[in-house]
């Protein structure tokens, strides 16, 4: 154990999705400083991409934005976006973390977030945040609600970096914030505890050729469908398919795309797909009342408060046709997307000439999870997710004291579960800080908190 005076009651949270945000607010609102890091230019993670959340159909942006704004304004939260962890040394109570702040080519201390640069930038690029269904500029923020609302320049696509021409953003920026000479910077922070909340990515579908993803434009992932549903998405929430912008009248949803497939190295259930597919089918029907939704499933796993009722609503009220079986092949035929599958209940082969297909793609650990595990010296399992100290009794702890876990970086999780675990991880960090406190100081703080509560 480090000597008392070296103990730093300050936490680093890696990953600023909903889990990281929750943990950051819980710790900061208890009076401790938090460094919240994310490799994206702004916070919110995948939740910021979602249209509505199950089972309540809350607007995802609407319930997330107050949190991101609170993080952005919090005196005790230091945001380090567009940053990655390079190395960690020390031990519980006294970690030194080196981080790379990637060059944004924009001086964020000057930038006011007016958005003029994005408006005037002539270079359009397919936007990752929109699942490549919409465009952004070469200088961009992830979304209009971005926190921090500061743009970055994507060097790969910027005309200035390509051939030293244009520089429209530099010429037009009213505060002179554009800085093409900016370099990556290494910064160091001392913290006493770390929470890892790096989340998930979707399984790369190129390895599942039978589903036609990439080859057939109207075969999309669930996350892409979220963007089509979203009022702030590329179609402004109108149900239009990618190939020709037509309203799809028949949509096939395929569950367990990659999940529960030991041959692909994903023997696990991705857990959220049954619910979000029911939500997708339901929201699709709200947008296209004369449309038909089909769902291919292996089992329906709807364990959770209000979850089973939600799925039943999709079946009974929205007339979503559930077919129990797997899909063998998806291909384009004229302007249709043909789906071959099996309905194992009627023991028949099924062919559906659909207008669009949505794949409930397996969740996998976020890219770079393994490298981060090496940096932190904590374990991952055979599927690449972080390993808890004990899955039953220590679900937030890692094998290393002072390093905790939250969210889908541990295993596939939905929002309520990720938030619950994040709150738990924050409590563990706070308990650790309390242990380090000399008795007198602890009493004073408790008294101050009591007073605050009154």
């Amino acid at each position: 154990m480090t000597s008392e005076e070296r103990l730093t009651r300050r936490a680093l949270i890696i990953g600023a999705g909903i889990a990281g945000i929750q943990a950051a607010l819980d710790i900061a609102n208890s009076g401790y400083e938090v460094v919240l890091l994310d490799r994206q230019p702004s916070i919110g993670g995948h939740m910021a991409q979602l249209s509505e959340t199950f089972p309540t159909l809350d607007c995802s942006q609407c319930i997330l934005t107050p949190r991101t704004v609170e993080v952005g304004h919090h005196d005790l939260i230091k945001l380090l976006t567009y940053s990655e962890v390079e190395s960690v040394s020390g031990e519980s109570g006294d970690f030194t973390v080196r981080m790379r702040r990637k060059a944004a080519y924009v001086d964020w201390t000057r930038c006011t977030g007016c958005g003029l640069c994005q408006e005037k930038c002539p270079k359009k690029v397919d936007a990752e945040f929109e699942g490549y269904l919409g465009k952004r500029k070469a200088i961009y923020t992830l979304s209009p609600q971005a926190v921090p609302n500061k743009p970055v320049i994507d060097r790969e696509n910027c005309i200035w970096f390509e051939r030293q021409k244009c520089a429209a953003c530099q010429k037009l920026c009213p505060v002179g914030a554009i800085d093409f000479e900016q370099q990556d910077r290494i910064v160091e922070e001392r913290v006493g505890a770390i929470i890892v909340a790096t989340g998930y990515d979707l399984y790369p579908l190129a390895q599942l050729g039978e589903y036609g993803y990439g080859a057939v434009p109207d075969v999309i992932t669930g996350l892409q469908f979220e963007r089509l549903l979203s009022a702030s998405g590329p179609t402004a929430g109108q149900m239009r398919r990618p190939s020709d912008g037509k309203e799809p009248k028949e949509v096939v949803f395929v569950q367990c795309v990659g999940s529960r497939d030991p041959e692909l190295g994903m023997p696990y259930c991705s857990k959220i797909c049954c619910m979000y597919t029911a939500k997708h089918a339901m929201l699709y029907r709200h947008k296209v009342p004369d449309g038909q939704a089909y769902v291919f499933y292996i089992d329906i796993r709807s364990a959770g408060k209000g979850y089973e009722e939600f799925v039943q609503r999709a079946v009974e009220e929205e007339r979503v046709l559930y077919l129990r079986g797997k899909v063998s092949k998806i291909f384009r035929d004229g302007d249709k997307v043909v789906v071959w599958g099996a309905d194992t209940l009627s023991e028949k082969q099924v062919e559906i000439a659909a207008d669009m297909v949505v794949l409930a793609t397996a969740m996998v650990p976020a890219a770079g999870t393994l490298e981060l595990a090496r940096i932190l010296d904590i374990a991952v399992d055979g599927c690449g997710f972080f390993v808890e100290a004990n899955a039953n009794l220590c679900p937030m702890e890692t094998s290393r004291e002072g390093i905790y876990l939250a969210g889908a970086a541990v295993a596939p999780k939905d929002i309520p579960e990720a938030v619950a675990q994040a709150g738990g991880a924050a409590a563990k960090v706070l308990a650790l800080f309390a242990q380090w406190m000399p008795g007198e100081e602890a009493e004073m703080q408790a008294a101050a908190l009591m007073q605050g509560a009154r």
Binding site: L208, G209, K329, D333, G334
Partner: protein, 297 residues
């Protein structure tokens, strides 16, 4: 380069045009296919019953013979080149059994009185073309580019599956034949049913079912704008070609589509043939189309 070559039974009778065009096209590319002196039927199906070793003995005998003869035939003697997709599938899978399963290997060797260890490399002509000859050299050999010819490549099952054993190409999105035909100057048509079953041996027992399978393949290719379908399997070729008369009676609006072996078009693109290619033996006559494109007289 000389390569030991297993033609297989069908290339000796029903599919002589496949054999002749394969030998001629490969020779143009500097690959002499040297036929094994002693060979027998490959077995024609890989048995689905796991303990039926008797079905593997004919195949194993071919492999043992090829291993024994090969080194004298060519410096590439540990390879065995195969043109027929079904023979290739059976030989390759049996070879893996002989290589990886000690118990079965010993039993089979005991029965056929050989001592074969599974150390041959079974190579389909498409693999030889892609990996040993290379598309660049193929392109240089083209005399009459297949310009304007819309060629759909049909893989069927045997060239690709089971993927972990065959490993010739991406099982869902193969490209070797399309790459070949683009190299030959053709327009390569990619159609969704190129890896679907043609009906295979159902042609013997349930001809109608087989016909439906073949029809789906052909109509899918037609809808994609195909002018000619190419195959590397005599059984697929038979099912797809020979049933078209019947299809025309059963399915309204059916358009006949010539079905060739990939080597026949290769030979023509190299300025060879059509002597010995037996184009007249195809049920749907490909000659009007080939004449139209200036590939034959």
């Amino acid at each position: 380069m000389k390569l030991p070559y297993f033609p297989g039974c069908t290339l000796r009778n029903k599919a002589r045009g496949f054999d002749a065009s394969a030998r001629e096209a490969m020779a143009i590319l500097g690959v002499e296919l040297v036929e094994l002196m002693h060979w027998n039927c490959c077995g024609a199906t890989f048995p689905l019953v796991v303990d039926n070793l008797l079905d593997l003995t004919a195949t194993a005998r071919v492999l043992a013979e090829a291993r024994a003869e090969g080194p004298a035939l060519s410096s590439e003697g540990v390879q065995l080149a195969v043109a027929c997709a079904t023979c290739y599938n059976v030989l390759k899978r049996t070879n893996l059994v002989m290589r990886d399963n000690q118990e079965k290997r010993e039993k089979i060797n005991f029965f056929i009185e050989k001592d074969y260890a599974g150390d041959l490399q079974i190579r389909h002509l498409l693999e030889v073309l892609r990996d040993q000859v290379g598309f660049e050299a193929i392109g240089q050999a083209v005399k009459k580019p297949l310009k304007g010819l819309k060629v759909a490549s049909y893989y069927g099952c045997m060239l690709l599956r089971p993927s972990d054993e065959i490993q010739l190409d991406d099982v869902e999105n193969p490209r070797v034949m399309e790459d070949l035909f683009r190299t030959l100057g053709a327009e390569a048509i990619v159609f969704p049913h190129r890896g679907e079953c043609c009906g295979s041996y159902l042609a013997v027992k349930s001809a109608d079912v087989a016909m439906e399978f073949s029809y789906r393949v052909l109509s899918s290719a037609s809808r994609a704008g195909t002018e000619v379908l190419v195959s590397s399997c005599p059984l697929c070729q038979f099912n797809l070609d020979r049933r078209q008369g019947q299809m025309a009676q059963v399915y309204g609006g059916f358009r006949p589509l010539p079905v060739l072996y990939f080597t026949q078009l290769m030979g023509l693109a190299f300025g060879m043939g059509p002597d010995g290619y037996e184009l007249d033996k195809h049920y749907v006559d490909p000659r009007p189309l080939l004449r139209d494109k200036g590939l034959i007289r």
